[in-house]
């Protein structure tokens, strides 16, 4: 039952229902294209569901030997990064987050040594400084300084 086609179908049908509920309030010209797209999505969702019901290969999110905890770590760090930027600003949050990422992705032996930590910190800080200078002073992109430093 739970294979990639049925999961995809339920996802698509869910999006279609959400879209339909929203599109009910649109004017004719604002909603005509949306309605056609939703109809196509609904048909595709039903076909996917029908196909999935005849398929018996179960869905496996992680392949064998996948570094799942590292993927989860990267996702958490990235989410933390986005939450941190408004507070600590681009410069500080980037240096911290990139150092953490570098450490997380290093070979296990290096992660346990103080040298590994030092290298990760210097890589994080140097990447941040390099691109910060390019974007802020070269390309004149105003980067948020953060609530703590503004």
């Amino acid at each position: 039952m739970w294979n990639s086609d049925t999961i995809s179908a339920l996802l698509v049908l869910g999006i279609t229902v959400f879209g339909y509920l929203e599109a009910k309030n649109f004017s004719y010209y604002g909603g005509v294209f949306v309605s056609w797209v939703l109809l196509i999505l609904f048909i595709l969702g039903v076909v996917l569901l029908a196909k999935g019901l005849f398929q018996h290969k179960p869905f496996k999110f992680w392949k064998e030997g996948a570094h799942s905890w590292q993927v989860a770590g990267v996702v958490v760090i990235l989410a933390g990064y986005i939450l941190l930027i408004p507070w600590a600003g681009f410069l500080v949050s980037s240096a911290v987050v990139l150092s953490l990422l570098c450490l997380l992705l290093s070979p296990p032996a290096r992660r346990r040594s103080w040298r590994g930590w030092l290298v990760s910190l210097s890589v994080g800080v140097s990447i941040t400084l390099l691109f910060y200078v390019i974007f802020k002073y070269g390309l004149l992109v105003p980067l948020p300084p953060g609530v703590l430093f503004s």
């Binding site: 004719y28 989410a79 691109f131 992109v141």
Partner: protein, 513 residues
């Protein structure tokens, strides 16, 4: 004309202007390489600086920058599967698989040479056929835009070779995403979840970074990137001439792709992203080995890059002759021309003929210089993928974040990029490809605006059907769409019948023996 041409040659070959061209070109390559920064943004930044220069020098530098960005955007598309600008989406389809085979340098040389061909052919068309072609571009009305979008969407059949059903589903999801924001004609606020920042819609570049870059990073982390390197670079002697020889043997592919690029560039609003996708689709359709596309074939890269580069000149044709910019970047250049007191139209070819020809020739010399620079640099760019994984991933993450922020200086774009990235990763796990989804996002606004305007015109004139199906250019696009849909089916049927015939012959021979 000859006088202007000779003046242009003398101007462009002066050391100072040559230096400006190279500086602009290098700047363009850097901008093109950085996801989130577009040629339009870089041109807009450069225009105020060129105001103090002579018109010829300023325009030469702008030309160099524009061409440089078109060369540069293929580098991250090839090496890290992340297009530097939307025009390089299709370059990822074959560029990255080739880099995965250790042939990153060959892929980069193909990028450079095909861009050179596209640029040279585009410049020749720009110099010789501008006025008649610009009139053709103007014949594109709302129904034609709608059918052009439908034709563009038929490419999904080519892009989603694993599951056409999931390909079309992803395309439809992309179309739905394109409707987020204020509707183009009626002004309805749609799917914004109450967030005012979403009223402007989803920025294409934010979606591109999200759907291409983040899932790629997560996949690399998941597989552990062999020996802590993303990909291995394999050095090969004589690779440059070997690649050039292979490409020179495909003149039809290069010329066809360049002409597609020019043709689409002329149509206002349709840019390099559409041109490269259409050109890729045509390359698959006409290839003797369509099954090799998507697995790292030079033909796929050559088709997209040739079209992507010739779009630049195509977009300048209506801008120089009629004052209608074919792309956002051409609109910025139009602004630069106006700043120097040059008005588009006949005047540009008479009163300012010398400057205009210098500007056009700057594209010709620009592509030659960029070809030399990127070919020389290809070995060093290709080595980038050998940088240990734990250093390269944080750099890509940082560029994705800062790139998505820099587009509108908006932190919500960063959040959207991240959510799209997670969504893209989940969709990949479910067997969907990012290509059709982004294609839907690109074609959505063209399709919607074309449809709604056509409905309005049809209702006013008394027949919607006549407006949608009764115009010659629309009919051409409808026929092309039907051919494009049927081609993969016919091609698959032909391949199957050839295989069956071979099998029967083998069985017959074995019985005979």
């Amino acid at each position: 004309m000859l006088e202007n041409f000779l003046f242009a040659v003398s101007q462009i070959l002066s050391p100072a202007n040559l230096l400006l061209l190279i500086t602009g070109g290098i700047g363009g390559i850097i901008v093109g390489c950085l996801p989130g920064l577009t040629a339009t943004m870089a041109l807009a930044l450069l225009v105020p600086f060129t105001f103090t220069m002579e018109a010829t020098s300023g325009l030469i530098m702008l030309g160099g920058l524009y061409v440089g960005a078109m060369f540069g955007d293929a580098i991250p598309a090839t090496l890290i599967n992340t297009p530097g600008t939307p025009s390089a989406i299709a370059t990822t389809f074959d560029g990255y698989p080739l880099a995965k085979k250790g042939l990153a340098q060959q892929a980069l040389i193909t990028n450079a040479f095909s861009s050179l061909c596209g640029g040279v052919i585009g410049t020749i068309v720009l110099l010789t056929l501008s006025p008649p072609l610009s009139e053709l571009g103007l014949k594109f009305g709302p129904p034609e835009y709608f059918w052009m979008a439908i034709f563009g969407l038929t490419i999904i059949g080519t892009l989603a070779s694993d599951s056409i059903l999931k390909g079309f589903t992803a395309g439809a999801l992309g179309l739905l995403l394109s409707t987020v924001g204020i509707s183009p004609i009626a002004g309805d606020v749609r799917f914004t979840l109450g967030l005012p920042s979403l009223q402007a819609g989803i920025d294409l570049m934010v979606a591109l970074i999200g759907f291409f870059c983040i899932p790629q990073i997560l996949e690399m982390v998941e597989t552990g990137a062999k020996e802590y390197h993303i990909l291995q670079y394999r050095s090969e002697r004589g690779i440059f001439w070997k690649t050039i020889r292979e490409l020179v043997a495909k003149p039809v592919l290069l010329i066809r792709s360049a002409l597609i690029g020019v043709g689409i560039g002329i149509i206002p609003g349709a840019g390099g992203n559409i041109a490269s996708l259409v050109s890729y689709n045509e390359a698959v359709r006409w290839s003797k080995h369509p099954e090799e596309f998507g697995k790292g074939t030079l033909e796929g890269i050559a088709a997209t890059e040739s079209a992507n580069c010739s779009v630049v000149q195509g977009s300048l044709i209506p801008m120089l002759t009629l004052g209608i910019p074919g792309s956002p970047a051409a609109a910025v250049i139009l602004g630069a021309l106006l700043l120097h007191g040059m008005r588009p139209g006949r005047e540009l070819y008479t009163t300012f003929g010398d400057i205009t020809h210098t500007f056009i020739l700057s594209f010709f010399l620009g592509v030659v210089v960029m070809f030399i620079l990127t070919s020389l640099g290809s070995k060093y760019f290709a080595r980038m993928i050998s940088v240990p994984f734990q250093y390269l991933v944080p750099a890509i993450v940082f560029l994705s974040i800062i790139g998505s922020y820099a587009i509108r200086n908006n932190l919500l774009d960063v959040t959207i990029m991240f959510l799209f990235g997670l969504g893209g990763y989940l969709l990949r796990k479910l067997g969907f490809h990012s290509g059709p989804l982004v294609l839907g996002l690109i074609m959505g606004p063209f399709a919607e605006q074309g449809l709604v305007q056509s409905l309005l015109i049809g209702k006013a004139s008394g027949s919607v059907l006549k407006v949608m199906f009764g115009r010659p250019l629309s009919l051409v696009l409808i026929v092309l769409s039907i051919i494009s849909i049927l081609w993969p089916i016919v091609s698959a049927w032909r391949t199957r019948s050839v295989k069956e015939k071979k099998k029967e012959e083998e069985e017959y021979n074995s019985v005979e023996l």
